[in-house]
């Protein structure tokens, strides 16, 4: 795109300009890098993207390789989904919160579950007791799910479920209540996280070893591709690895390596790639390095499109679309001067929007201290609304394209991600790399490096290592009332007493047989939850066949 001769002239000019500045020592940031360690120069010019080829590298929105965006009209056609992760205490409490959020302009729901629910313990298990309702809602039986969605029109909202190891049970419950509400499964919209691989790396809510867990992931992908075609059967997530310390490059690389493992597994199951790939969705974080994050999202779209087209031979363009949800990075929130978090979140969400996200969760400013208060959640939603309705940034698509810096960063990130993918491939793929602790070590190293940079003040965090003022306490902190746990456990006991014992026994027997045979577990789990079999009871059956995962450790 650029004239060779002119480029050469320019290069000489820029070089001498730079050396002049260096001689005088005017540049005080020599050697600075992005958060992921990409060197950042004083200025970018066409010389930094000399072989720039518009059609090949960017294309038009909605066109391969989708660098500019996955849809032709992007936000002019439809805004991103405002989606705030919510859930705590019991189903009643969360149901109330959902209604509140919908009333305040949120357009999708996102359910957070408590840890026992995520790890397959009923609320009255001794390991579960201290955690019931703490970081999300407790769901042990279908009864809880019925209450959770009471009065909410399942047919009209899209709901996202942050659930992995117990995704089959939770999804089964949701499908069962959808049917009860008269909504056919092919009309149900939403997303289930169902991304177990990153759990071994970051959030650690695994139950079984990786191999059988992968089987369950594919069971859901298969079941949805045949029955719930509008439901995103997996949300392949970099967010949690990012939170655990990964940098932007590692976030993309590990997410895509995992994605490749899932696609391979689904193809091995016999599913044609275009039958399920359009329903794969992604989930990334958005950190502080404004331009790097924007470039990351752009590079991500291009990489995924290439993987799907070139490696897996997808034909349907929808299979090549990287549709993703973004959450501003919780790890950037500070407990010191928490109001400053509002500003951080605003910048991060702006980057996510400029990066072309399909859905966005903005963190509440008090989240470094506890679960967010309603006031803080409202402010977080308002942040998105200011960007969407006041700033006018949505009026044109991918407005930073063509910026020398942005294009340079996009290329550089892409290159570094491919390098990582190559290394993981050589190790034998994502599962082996994870079992060997490769991701875990890389991430822990990055986390430690980041911490050291803050401690040496190579990175400034306002209020933490610079601009420190007297501590201002956040007053309105949400706490989970212990009475909620008592209520949850009471209800669970009642459900256990009142259900039809024979049906329970039969459903569990059938499930066991299906698991042993290697059948898709989804229909069996749906029948089980319908009979009010508890989450833990189904988990125990799976555990008895699959075994339990022991962590990699240090």
């Amino acid at each position: 795109m650029f004239d060779k001769g002119k480029l050469n002239e320019l290069r000489i000019e820029v070089e001498s300009w730079k050396s002049e500045i260096n001689k005088k020592g005017l540049d005080k940031k020599v050697g600075c890098t992005t958060l992921s360690g990409i060197p950042v120069d004083l200025i970018y010019t066409p010389c930094d993207i000399e072989s720039f080829d518009y059609k090949r590298e960017l294309g038009l929105p909605g066109e391969y390789p989708f660098t500019r965006g996955v849809y032709p009209t992007m936000y002019r056609g439809r805004l991103w989904t405002l989606r705030e992760y919510a859930g705590y205490g019991t189903a009643e409490e969360t149901n109330r919160r959902f209604k509140y959020l919908l009333e305040h302009g949120q357009t999708g729901l996102s359910v957070a579950f408590d840890l026992p629910t995520q790890i397959g313990y009923d609320s009255d298990h001794p390991m579960a007791m201290p955690e019931v309702g703490k970081v999300g809602v407790a769901v042990s039986t279908l009864k809880d799910m019925e209450i959770l969605f009471d009065g909410l029109p399942i047919g009209e909202i899209s709901t996202s479920f942050t659930i992995n190891a117990t995704a089959p049970q939770i999804l089964a419950m949701y499908f069962v209540i959808s049917l009860k509400q008269g909504v056919q499964l092919d009309k149900v919209q939403g997303t289930v996280q169902n991304d177990i691989l990153k759990e071994y790396v970051a959030r650690n809510t695994y139950i079984y070893p990786p191999q059988p867990s992968m089987k369950l992931v594919v069971d859901i992908i298969e079941y949805c591709s045949k029955n719930a075609q509008r439901f995103n059967s997996i949300s392949i997530s970099g967010y949690h690895m990012r939170e655990a310390g990964a940098n932007a490059i590692q976030e993309l690389a590990f997410t895509f390596a995992n994605a490749i493992a899932y696609v391979k597994a689904a193809i091995e199951r016999g599913l044609p790639v275009d039958s399920f790939a359009p329903r794969l969705s992604f989930f990334f974080g958005c950190h502080n390095d404004f331009f790097e994050e924007i470039a990351k999202f752009r590079a991500a779209r291009r990489i995924w499109a290439k993987i799907m087209k070139e490696r897996f031979g997808a034909r349907d363009p929808r299979s090549m679309l990287l549709r993703f949800h973004t959450q501003t990075c919780g790890c950037t929130l500070t407990a010191q001067q928490p109001e400053v978090n509002i500003i951080r979140v605003a910048l991060q969400s702006l980057a996510a929007v400029l990066g072309g996200t399909q859905s966005l969760h903005t963190n509440s400013y008090d989240e470094a201290l506890a679960l967010p208060s309603e006031y803080a959640v409202r402010l977080a939603v308002r942040t998105q609304q200011v960007i969407a309705y006041e700033s006018n940034v949505i009026n044109t698509i991918d407005p930073l394209a063509g910026s020398y810096y942005i294009e340079y960063l996009t290329n550089e990130i892409e290159k570094r991600v491919w390098d990582y993918l190559q290394r993981i491939e050589e190790m034998g793929g994502a599962i082996i790399a994870i079992e060997k602790g490769f991701y875990q070590r890389e991430i822990a190293e990055s986390a430690y490096k980041y911490q050291k940079e803050i401690e040496s003040k190579d990175r400034i965090i306002v209020g933490v290592n610079e601009f420190i003022t007297e501590e201002i306490k956040v007053k309105e902190l949400l706490k989970v009332d212990p009475i909620l746990r008592e209520r949850q456990i009471e209800r669970l006991k009642r459900v256990r007493d009142e259900r039809d014992k024979n049906k329970v026994k039969e459903a569990l027997e059938n499930l066991r047989r299906a698991v042993e045979k290697g059948d898709n577990v989804m229909p069996y789990i749906m029948r089980a939850v319908e009979s009010y079999v508890t989450l833990q009871e189904t988990t125990e059956v799976l555990k008895s066949v699959y075994g339990e995962y022991k962590p990699i450790g240090w």
Partner: protein, 316 residues
């Protein structure tokens, strides 16, 4: 706690007292010799198994399997996991215990230790720590050490049965054989046999084995994460133990060990009394300038300090 109290508590198997005493040994606390002397008559009952091999081959996971087995037999167990410490800061992260945490209770005493700058993959205090566990009534003691090079063979001098753990496709297996670890191993374990066909490795190792005083060193495949091969491994450990018992090998091993230790102690005592000599530098200079030989210098120093050494020794 005074000496007698500690001794009594350790003998009764009190975990807190055992733990404290081990720390005192590591920190070379002042009254330590006296306490160890009192414990000494109560030692010699435990059987000691060493588990060595390169990082990440699955030693801890394997030990977890062994613990589960021996625990179910009602044995009282002690486990010592040794990791190297940073030569610069002396710090270390000890992560072996993490793998054992689910299978243990108060009856299994596990202690993580660092080498504290001591070379050879083990810690200087190891002998005494083993004795403490032994005296406290542990019937079986398992020791995990890193074993990759020549210096790491030293662990063999501390244990009755030494397992060398390797895994297929290590790349450095040849290195390992040359490093002499194979020569001191009583049993070779090829762990992670699930990962790939390990037959080649079995053959390669067998070729390099020489029988160990008439004991045919077995090569066993295991998958520590699911327990495959563990029963066979336990059988082999038993066989080796029986072999040592029936051939009087155990007595010989232990006497050799005592001899080794006494000699080491003599060296240490002499050394301790001499390093402080104010003329030491002068003597070094003389040797450096070729006036005397190091051999002569040593004799000179010993002669000079003979009374000091003598007087610093306890009366027996």
């Amino acid at each position: 706690m005074n000496g007698i109290e500690i001794v009594n508590k350790v003998l009764s198997g009190d975990n807190r007292a055992i733990a404290k005493l081990i720390s005192n040994i590591e920190n070379q606390a002042p009254n330590i010799d006296e306490v160890l002397m009192k414990l000494y008559p109560h030692t010699g009952n435990a059987y000691v198994i060493g588990v060595t091999g390169a990082t990440g081959v699955g030693k801890s996971t394997l030990i977890n399997g062994l613990i589960n087995h021996y625990k179910s037999q009602g044995l009282r167990l002690g486990v010592i996991c040794i990791d190297p410490s940073s030569p610069i800061t002396g710090g270390a992260i000890l992560g072996d215990r993490l793998r054992l945490v689910n299978s243990i209770d108060e009856r299994v005493f596990i202690r993580s230790m660092t080498t504290r700058g001591y070379k050879g993959g083990i810690t200087k205090s190891l002998r005494d720590v083993i004795r403490v566990l032994d005296a406290s009534g542990k019937e079986l003691i398992i020791i995990e050490t890193i074993g990759v090079s020549q210096v790491d063979v030293e662990i063999a001098n501390y244990v009755d049965t030494l397992l060398l753990v390797v895994m297929p496709y290590m790349g450095d297996e040849i290195q390992l054989m040359k490093a002499g670890l194979l020569e001191v191993a009583d049993i070779v374990v090829i762990n992670k046999a699930d990962l790939t066909n390990s037959e080649d490795m079995v053959l390669a190792i067998k070729e390099n084995l020489n029988s160990n005083n008439g004991w045919e060193v077995p090569v066993i495949k295991t998958v520590a994460i699911n327990g495959f091969g563990i029963p066979e491994l336990i059988n082999k450990i038993n066989e080796h133990k029986n072999y040592l018992l029936t051939t009087n090998g155990i007595e010989k091993k232990r006497k050799d060990r005592i001899k080794e230790e006494i000699l080491e102690e003599i060296f240490n005592i002499v050394k301790q009394n001499i390093v402080g000599d104010e003329k030491f530098d002068e003597i070094v200079k003389k040797v450096f300038e070729k006036e005397i030989t190091p051999h002569f210098a040593a004799q000179l120093l010993i002669k000079k300090h003979k009374f000091l050494i003598f007087n610093n020794c306890v009366d027996v």
